[in-house]
Amino acid sequence: MTVALPRPDPSPPGSPVKRAVGEVLSRADRVFRRVTTGAGLSMLAILVVIGFFLVYRSGPALDASGFGFFTTIDFDAANGKLGVVGLLYGTVVVALIAVCVAVPLSILAALYITEYSSGKLRGFLTGLVDLLAAIPSLLYGLWGFSFLGPRVAPVSAWLTDNLGWFPPFAQKENALFINSMFIAGLVVSLMVLPITTSVIREVFTQTPPGEKEAALALGSTRWGMVRTVMLPFGRGGIIGGSMLGLGRALGETIAVSLLLPQIPQIATHVLQFGGATISGYIANNSGASGLALSGLMAAGLVLFVFTLATNFTASVVISKSRSGAGVDA
């Protein structure tokens, strides 16, 4: 348009002079900024306050048992023996079983949804995963306790009879096969399934289509394409999704409280009656008071720290896997 060659010093009205655009906020904007920042920071505040109160209330228990809290297996406030090891062990074992069952299944399901199904079925299955996530833990627990448990017991018995040389499958004489950590792990895996599936599915759908088509155009079969493009691309998401699932499984409460007898112990025999998890133990002892309550708070604090650490790592892994792929999501 107009090109002012030598800039006229007293700029006549209407000439193209760069105007300094300062961000002058209107009052509405200032209020807006303050309110939204406040809301965002309240999220931080809630977490800090939760941590503070758990530490504060667990003080008596930690004072009473000292460092022994992290080395004692029993949780018996009446005798002054407070320890989190037995509970933590059960929590981790159940969560690991759950993740080991859920992750392969959710990789397959995510693959099916993104690659193998088409059109309407894809929408239906995506909705189904959401629905699975919406079903409360209580109902899973109820079902696992009265329907799945008795039906899995023969499988456990068979595993013991035939694979008893493998330590986790061994069991003591005449032990029951119901209410085992194995069954609890299976039920929790159903609850982990939606979250891992949706994370993995999301990562799979972000695979660059160009690379997929390139693999196919080079004559690869569908499986070849999945193996060489989608799985390497989605590896970060698979790991992150598994860890997110692990975090969920660690905190799963009601189902486990219905399924396990909640006896703190270190039992290597996962197929037999027994086991406890932190969250389930807390739920079953909600009427506790005094030192026992303080011990529960301390156990809750351990669980809190554990799940936060897991989730934090998971979200870092997932966001890394996304940003590394050059896809901002």
Partner: protein, 383 residues
């Protein structure tokens, strides 16, 4: 190139475009699958039932499945080669994995409906448990107090969650604050917060001091449950709304800002209305999640047998607590009460989910209508 105008002769008919789909299943493939399935079944039956004694139906299924996979692989390798055989094998396994998603859900639903439906009467919705004797049959169960409690607690939770969650999501998306990163990480971390810890926190921070100092509001009641539920629901709603807001095209925002609207005005009049259906879906799914939450209630609302319509004082019942209490009892008629409650809970969650889907679909329908003409035009141009 050629300038001579050829007389209009009968154009050679263009060969009909047939899409070649190397991955499609042909009739032959289907026959092979069927044949393999039949022979695997028969072989399993022969080996496990005639030669050996089968350890159970599950073993039959596992053996038959393994045999099917092996047979299918061998036959396809013979027909089409090794690569195709591996491809088909993996496809079969993947389909099985997807079924693994569906089967537990069907079993779960079927089981709860079968156990609960015979004892569900209309009376469940009209009276509470205070006048029902423990030995009364399960058909006398009353759940009005639980339903009222769930409705009140969920509604109160929404009062906290919707503004706070929306504002946080807006903060994450529409502002350029330097706290966005830590807040996003914290929201992510908090969404994995075990619900029992939320309950424990409210118990430790409010209820214990409240009872010691005799403040009625900070004691076992529905409001405390609401606070715990807020902590459970807030991160999930925030995250989903965050995703939905991200889907709003930047062009709309820029257009609004270019017209001179302030940021607040842009969010209020452009971003939020555009994302309305998505936000609604997120909130409804959040409700479904909260309605079934049990663990934090054990420490906060505590549960009661009779009607308590006031969420701000005295223990209050809700459907999950109702179910949890009764299914743990050894007596059969009492357990059946729990299953009735579970059926009502699942119906509630399903209807919420259906509403969410309908609300969400509205938008996608409009979108597909808008894109369809384009697709038709593209197809014409390609030809």
């Amino acid at each position: 190139m050629t300038t001579t105008v050829t007389p209009p002769q009968a154009k050679p008919k263009p060969r009909p475009l047939v899409k070649r789909r190397p991955a499609a299943t042909t009739r032959e493939d289907r026959l092979v699958s069927l044949g393999c399935a039949v022979s695997a079944t028969l072989l399993t039956w022969f080996v496990l039932h005639l030669l050996l004694t089968s350890p159970g139906r599950l073993a039959d299924l596992v053996v038959a499945y393994a045999l099917y996979l092996a047979m299918h692989y061998l036959v396809t390798r013979d027909r089409l080669g090794k690569l195709a055989a591996t491809d088909r094998l993996v496809s079969t396994v993947v389909v099985t994995g997807a079924l693994g998603l569906l089967v537990p859900l069907l079993f779960l639903l079927g089981y709860i409906v079968v156990k609960g439906a015979p004892y569900l009467r209309w009376a469940f919705f009209t009276h509470d448990m205070s006048s029902v004797a423990p030995s009364a049959p399960a058909t006398d169960t009353g759940g009005l107090h639980a339903i009222v409690g769930t409705l009140e607690q969920t509604a109160l939770t929404l009062v906290f969650v919707v503004p706070l969650g929306l504002l946080t999501a807006v903060f994450l998306n529409e502002t350029r604050s330097r706290f966005r990163r830590p807040v996003r990480v914290m929201v992510d971390a908090m969404s994995g917060l075990p619900s029992i810890v939320a309950g424990l926190f409210i118990y430790a921070a409010l209820i214990i001091p409240g009872i010691q100092s005799g403040v009625g509001l900070f004691s076992y009641n529905g409001f405390m449950a609401t606070l715990a539920l807020t902590m459970v629901m807030l991160p999930t709603v925030t995250r989903t709304v965050d995703v939905v807001l991200r889907l709003v095209p930047d062009g709309l925002r820029e257009a609004s800002l270019a017209l001179g609207a302030s940021r607040a005005r842009t969010v209020w009049s452009v971003v939020l209305p555009t994302a309305r259906t998505g936000v609604t879906t997120a909130v409804i799914l959040g409700i479904a999640r909260v309605a079934g939450e049990t663990a934090p209630l054990l420490f906060t609302s505590f549960g009661a047998l009779g009607m308590n319509a006031d969420p701000f004082s005295d223990p209050q019942e809700s459907i999950p607590l109702f179910v949890y209490r009764y299914v743990k009892e050894p007596l059969e008629n009492v357990q059946q009460r729990g299953y009735v409650g579970a059926l009502v809970l699942i119906l509630l969650i399903f209807s919420l989910f259906a509403i969410a889907r309908i609300v969400g679909r509205d938008r996608s329908k409009r979108k597909s209508r808008a894109t369809k003409p384009n697709r038709a035009r593209n197809a014409q141009e390609n030809r």
